[in-house]
Amino acid sequence: MATVSMDQVNKVYPNGFHAVHDLSLEVADGEFMVLVGPSGCGKTTALRMVAGLEDISSGIMRIGGREVNDLSPKERDIAMVFQNYALYPHMTVAENIGFALKLRKLPKDKLDAKVKETAEILGLTEWLNRKPGQLSGGQRQRVAMGRAIVREPSVFLMDEPLSNLDAKLRVQMRAEVSRIQRRIGVATVYVTHDQIEAMTMGDRVAVMRAGVLQQCDNPQVLYDRPDNIFVAAFIGSPAMNLYEGTVGDGGRSVRLGSQQIDLPGAVTVAHSGLASYAGKTVVVGLRPEHLPAAQAGLTGPVLTGDVDLVEALGSELVIHFTIDAKRVVAEGAHAADAEAATISGEGVARVDPRTPAKAGDRLNFAIDTDGIQFFDPDSGAAIWT
């Protein structure tokens, strides 16, 4: 049981690559902390520095209050689950789980008891004598978990442990990993590139980009009040619609292309900083679920778009539409392919499945103005008061 604390931690590789930049992060005892970001953002490097597999160039790393910069991995009392599990193919499941205990010279009977207990937690009891090669992907993942928890470490590290599983199993294991983590109650640092995993599993989520921590908070705050355009675009699926807009007089309205949107009083108060942008360009963010189809007789602000495509998911319709405003892409938040596929002015809305909409229609979306976000176009920072 311990906390993890990073204080201005840097990682600079010998070739000059600055992988992690002044990272400061506190993981409370028992907390499930998720590091998320696109590939190459430094999240795995940060995790490996906690593990001691990677040297710390500068800054201080503490585990349980003790500085561990110069400690070897085994002295840090951590356990780690790797993306490819790194199960020893020549050992049985029981031997894999018990290897670390064997290295600590635990007596045989105690070792066996612990391995059995761990296997029970993970539902692996009947597979104990199999080799990893004979197991399914999900079972291997469980063995990797077992190998980590059997040691009762003070910190639990996981590096994309679910990304080798197929989509259905991943959803299932997501819940299971969370359940096990709650049960053993050990501070956990979990690295993933999948924002859904981050949102569903983390007590708190730290979003990283290009070696820099963007924001760290609980998932709902990240979603509702992203600090900058990158976090806004990275968190949420389908992603937030981002348009260039021109702020009207006193920050009371915003113009998207040819459409003028009047902001209610509550919004102008919450985003009072907008007033100083009057006449200037900002980035306007609208999440797809904040654009329901407008009902007849609606009075609030409306966005009108040309429907390109309608995807019926059963529970809702995902409508791809086009407006004449300029679409904004947050650099690095999405894969290059997705960015390339984004057509100028395209947007996405999630509407009631009974909405009569088809490609070619012109549709009015009611704007849920509580969810509207504004960002500075130069710094990318969110505009609040």
């Binding site: 840097n10 590789y13 010998p14 930049h21 160039s57 290009a210 904004v328 947050a330 984004t342 100028s344």
Partner: protein, 319 residues
Amino acid sequence: MTTISSAAEQPTAAVVAPPAGRPDVNRKKLARLGWLFSAPALIFVAAVTIFPILYSIVMSLRNVQVSGGGIKMTGITGANYSAVIHSSVWRYALGFTILYTVVTVLVELVLGTVIALVLERLTAGRGWMMALLLIPWSMITVINAEVWAYIYQPTYGVLQAIFQAVGLGHPDVLGTPTPAIIGMMVADIWKTTPFVAIIVLAGLVMLPGDVYEAAEIDGASGWYTFWHVTLPLLRPTLALAVMFRVLQAFGLFDLPFVLTNGGPGTSTTSLAVLGYQAMFKNLDFGGGAAVASTTALLVLIGCLISLRTFRVQVGKENT
């Protein structure tokens, strides 16, 4: 479409000058461990190969006298090399070695590729054929030489019996210069073609099958597919195999030593046989060392050229 990078004041993870960070202890520790682990092997190899190579070069540049008490080296001289280069025997041996290398490697390559293509289509018994192919590869060369010596034997060998039966007389293969060279090449080809075939076959099996399906759908003929799909994909495998075969054939010694002892006359005297005879028959260590050093130099040049040519393949493995 506009692209905005968030938080402009934040530096991106580009290449920046390394700050005064602490040295990478992990890497250093592991590197030290690496040298510790490889030192025994590297020192051993260096002691037994590099030292003698240098010694051999020194010896080739000095006057060497062999007496009952050992060898004595005096002065520094280029005489050994000039004697070697001006010797017609050496020139012949060089020419013979090159001819032998080129012909055997070429034949082995073509024949081996054909065999591999045949075996690739074999549906049953491929494992057994592979096992059969491995026997000549693993056979002691001296024994291979004895088998062919018996086949070529001029009075009771099976070859002369067959020639006689079809009315071609009594060939004395190993007693006549040109047939001796050809006969030796046949023995070499018998032993080494299977090796080439196995490599090519393994290379063929590893080729992605969908490439063939795509070629077939595109309407390519068998020959066309072979020339324009199979062969280019096999090139790295073939190239490395050829390199090793060439360098190895250049050191030809066992076959001529047992089959013909370099004869008749000097017609099958390879560079290695010449060097051996100079050193251990004529006790001319300086001259022998000069022959050996020039051979080594030629091999080294060949190796460097091959490495340059195939750099892509070797380099790729390092990443």
